[in-house]
Amino acid sequence: MLDKLKESIKAALPELDFVMGWGMGYDPLHATPLYMYEPEDVDNLVWGPLNVHNLAVHLPSLKGKKVGIVVKGCDSRSVVELLQEGLINREDVVIFGAPCNGIVDMSKIRKAVPDAHFVHSVETDDNGLTITTDKDTHKLSLAEVMADKCTRCRFPNAVVADHFVGEKREPTVENDAYEDLESFESQGFEERRDFWMTEMDRCIRCYACRNACPLCVCRDHCVAQSRNPHWVSQRDGVRDKFMFQIIHAMHMAGRCTECGECERACPMDIPVLLLKRKLGTVIHDLFDYDSGLDAEARPPLLAFKLEEESIKEKDW
């Protein structure tokens, strides 16, 4: 399948400035974004559970160039969302897709393999990976180190693609039950608040969560850094950090595809995706809408009905 993918990229390359995919990074455990300009660059392409990055984050800044992008199912939804919002042009982007079996969560690997600092080799197959370090060999099943989002994946095949190689895979689940959220909200309000207080206290305000988000497109104009309006200060207290997470979540309302990049990028392992998942399920239930599936759809917060059947207003 990887060979077919390479072939189709090579075939399209002459028409394109470059194609984005994944190559091997600084060690065999880490893939890294790969920019393919020449056919020989394509030979460095990898596909598998280490392709953790959502490359769609680079697309808006490349608007106007003709580029190709290799996508997992979840990445493709970010592309659709960018198309819907007019942040990229359909005719400038060539999308390469392949069925995805799930990616790893590096934090889980670090827990399962404490000696993962010096990795000599990694063998991956459909169900797992074998990591050989300078000390030991670890056989891990993909299930135990898989990213949470993959355990509830509804779209393992690109929802939009110009070139799709390989056989489409069955979704892991038909519907997302939001079990993580349900279990979090089985706690009282005070516990939830205290949870976020301690999590936000750990936040180092690096904004990796924002920078990795394919839909956080304000970049240098982010209100987190603006003095006017002055939404958050530069203090290192809990309040400003919490406020920033609420800003990120609310700015994503009806747009976030729950790709999980924000949480993956967080160096402090703060579960910021949970906030966005809450909004995702609220919007799904209220407006029967999932983002990143239809580039022609009208986003629910930019629309209204005179009578909203699903909104129960308070009776005073």
Binding site: L181, F184, E185, F189, E190, E191, R192, R193, D194, F195, W196, M197, T198, D201, W231, R235, D236, G237, V238, R239, D240, F242, M243, I246, I247, A249, M250, A253, G254, L274, L275, K278, L279, V282, I283, L286, F287, P300, L301, L302, A303, F304, K305, L306, E308, I311, E313, K314, W316
Partner: protein
Amino acid sequence: MPVLNGRELRIVGFLCNWCSYGGADTAGVARFDQPTDLRVIRVPCSGRIDPLFIAKAFMNGADGVLVSGCHPRDCHYAEGNYYARRRLEVFKQFISVLGIEPERFEYTWVSASEGQRWQEVVTKFTNQVHTLGPLAPIPEVALSQLAQTTGTDIREEA
């Protein structure tokens, strides 16, 4: 604030200029009895209200937030309140994951002539927030610093 400690809570009201602000004025002119916890902020339209205004109010110590605009079909700008309704409903449901009771936030519609309705809304909402009591403050400082000044450390409990 210290004088009123325990008796009054901090409730912030965002009222649209055209209907609800007028409604509150009507209630005042008619000298209807109302609780005094509410602090009013006048905005041009309920559609102007970014849900983050409400979040910011909670972060800065509000115990409750009320938004009031023109009734659907009566918006001065025709459709501002329709967009507001969707946003505010989403926000109301969202805040439970933050650990803020959704009952601390309500949005409603009061016209300029409905002084009576305004009195009822303010009274009921104030009572509703009092039932929940004050919202624990979101620390402005890091928890380690907070622990030094107050002697309690929520990091240990968690």
